[in-house]
Symmetry: C2
Subunit: 458 residues, 2 copies
């Protein structure tokens, strides 16, 4: 939560060039909280405050700024100073930071000012396609040679610990950089009383790794399943080239869950915050699906026209069209959402398809049967006689069953084809049920009503 | 993925009482992979294999079994042996494990066999309400006194490191157990060359903590925002009583995202796996919402009946009822899902309500306008004249705007009232739009059609 109470004081300190006060402000709190207190300052004011912090703290506070402010600072403030800070950021954060900055400024102003190692690193990391392990990994990783002793390893870590992102897992490599095993900081601390033991002797060798081009969702599922702190990333030659840490995995899990939710509601994933998405981008991401669904829904008009003669004879049937298609659509959405979320969390597998269909069939009978009973009471009030009133409950059972079956089978077919099952969005399922529902309704009516009294007008 | 290839060998080893082979099998791989290789064995066979592993490994492998198998083993295998293993599990895992086991077996067979500390711990942890920090925390935590030196702290950790769940953060407490600060394993290792420094001097004191009764989603958001490995849990007196670690946070993030997705689709959150939920439970969790929505949809029948006279005059209007209500419903679902997910990830705050409404209004005009243009072409083919054809586009603009506004405002009202915005599910929004849509359609028709030629029949 932003806290505007501190802003007047900060502005006063800036105006009075109170260097000590500003320096004190930057280090007094956790960097995230410092960043919160600064919300409301302009990009220029924020940068002016940050200049009073040591580089290490500056990077940390900057990391928690809103991305709008980050981009504005990088684009508008003196490029020398900005580049010096970007150079100090963690490699994966650096790629995230610069990904939203104007490309010309990045390539002409920032990159040339980075030290050569950081520049190469940036170019390499930003080359991995979005959504892969390579795109979210960091290259700041503690690796040690398998020939080191516990004592040597601890000394080595004491020297490098402040530079690498995490030392909770220490990866052990051979002379050629191939990943050989893992020693946890916990093991190392426990082994402090056996200082001459070799890392190669104590390391865990059955490691779970991510390939650099592996899908980020698969990687996140692995890490979540095994409760890992981090997973090493390797290339085809099993060289260790980076790690993905628990905090990146949380981000991936959230991002994928939000993307799924958006797809389920027929919105193309935004990729950035709701308020940050441009109105035209947003209308494209929503409009494209609405248009497809619109043409689908158009078919309902044709379906109804085909049956216009019957609807003119039995006008009371028309009253229940919205009720029938929305009951079918709602049941279909429930099924589709349950199946899509269960598939993406690994709760069900495609191999379970027969059990899923069987369950959804049973669910259709149960739910459809229940709604049918409810509807019979209402239908009696509208229909000319008891037999006619049966059209509504009979249709509902069939439409609800169509909903549970379409809602479960279609996402599984998509998954089987290697597509994202969430693309089989709820409105899409509902659209199919709209057309099916009208067809079922009229067929049931044509089957039953001719046997009811011939004077069956509304 | 289960790997049935190993099962015949395992069964052969069991039949031949190959103790060395089974012992070797249990320790050769990562416990998670060992558990995967055992999928397909009966509960009894699995337990027989596990008995060949040392207790520490046994607990680890058992943790990765399917929860069905875990429950069956705990309920059916010798209670002495099972209780001995349960005693060794991490406190939070122990609560999870026993939560699904038959209550009588837990209270009469397992609990009396646990050591007194573990039993008290279990009773205390399981008393915290579901969804709170207390219910997901573990009590295995490394705390050290602020008066220890770096050297003493490392020695102390070396003694206890294998017992506690994580030593990556070391919490520093005063003599009364009040949380005072935090030292990371990284700081401690870096300080190895200043062995006489006191923890109280080097610790970070601006800590983020979770209160034991805090909502788990809020805790997860804090941890995710600050990229923490763990967060300490305190009671009213600021005594440190547990921690929540990164792996539990990932579980919470997933669980909450899945719950949101289910609520959005009008399914009461299942709380367990899709295939594990009993059919009757499932039909209750879906049926209750379907019933509410059903009665809502019933109102559409009344709305249509009120306007039956007009619909009889202009019968071609009936053909577009499904198209109109589904266009409005789809747009409403998009808005509701976007707002609900943005609220739950903290991407928008309630204070942004005016910006949100403004955006959705603009979105309604853009999307509605576009669909209106598309629909005009179709309407011309069905309507008796050009002026009549305008009913469809004019209605669509208004209905789509009603969709974007209802879809965005209703979840925000729910959030403002302190309810879960995801309860304002998509089918609920769509149901409201169904009724509104019919009303708008008829009003627009009554406004326009009398000015068209009087002979306006289909």
């Amino acid at each position: 939560m932003p806290n505007p109470l501190f802003l007047p004081e900060l502005r006063e300190m800036l105006a009075g060039h109170d260097e000590n006060g500003l320096r004190e402000f930057c280090i007094a709190l956790h960097p995230a909280r410092t960043a919160e207190y600064m919300e409301g300052l302009s990009a220029e004011e924020s940068w002016e405050v940050l200049r009073h912090a040591e580089m290490e703290v500056r990077v940390e506070i900057f990391k928690y700024f809103d991305s709008d402010v980050q981009v504005e600072i990088i684009e508008s403030q003196p490029h020398d100073e900005v580049a010096a800070m970007v150079a100090e950021a963690a490699p994966d954060d650096r790629v995230d930071l610069l990904s939203e900055v104007d490309e010309t400024i990045v390539s002409e102003q920032i990159l040339p000012r980075l030290p050569v190692d950081e520049r190469r690193d940036f170019l390499r990391l930003s080359a991995y396609p979005e959504g892969t392990a390579g795109a979210i990994m960091t290259t700041d990783v503690a690796t040690l040679a398998e020939s080191l002793t516990v004592r040597e390893a601890l000394d080595e870590l004491a020297r490098s610990a402040t530079e690498v992102e995490t030392i909770y897992y220490i990866y052990v490599v051979d002379n050629d950089g191939h990943l050989r095993g893992l020693v946890s900081a916990r093991q190392l601390v426990s082994a402090i009383r056996r200082p001459t033991q070799l890392l190669g002797e104590m390391m865990e060798t059955d490691l779970l790794v991510a390939h650099v081009l592996e899908d980020q969702e698969d990687v996140a599922n692995k890490v979540a399943r095994l409760d890992l702190l981090a997973i090493p990333v390797v290339n085809d030659e099993h060289h260790m080239i980076g790690i993905i840490t628990h905090d990146d995995v949380i981000d991936v899990v959230r991002e994928e869950a939000t993307e799924d939710a958006h797809r389920i509601a027929a919105v193309d994933p935004l990729g950035e915050g709701y308020l940050k998405t441009h109105l035209l981008t947003m209308s494209w991401k929503r409009g494209m699906w609405l248009t497809i669904l619109f043409f689908g829904a158009m078919l309902t008009a044709w379906a109804l026209r085909r049956h216009e003669a019957h609807l003119d004879t039995w006008t009371w049937l028309v009253l229940f069209i919205p009720l029938i298609i929305s009951s079918g659509g709602n049941t279909g959405s429930q099924s589709a959402t349950l199946i899509i979320t269960a598939l993406s969390t690994g709760d069900i597998r495609l191999a379970d398809w027969l059990r899923v269909i069987w369950r959804e069939l049973a669910m259709g009978v149960l739910l459809g049967g229940f709604l049918a009973i409810l509807s019979f009471g209402v239908a009696v009030a509208f229909a000319p006689n008891l037999l006619s009133a049966c059209v509504l409950p009979a249709t509902l059972v069939l439409v609800v069953m169509a909903g549970t079956l379409a809602g479960s089978i279609l996402p599984m077919i998509f998954a089987r084809l290697g597509w994202d099952p969430a693309m089989m969005s709820n409105p899409f399922v509902a659209g199919i049920i709209d057309i099916l529902g009208i067809e079922i309704y009229v067929q049931v009516a044509m089957l039953i009503l001719p046997h009811a009294t011939p004077a069956a007008g509304g």
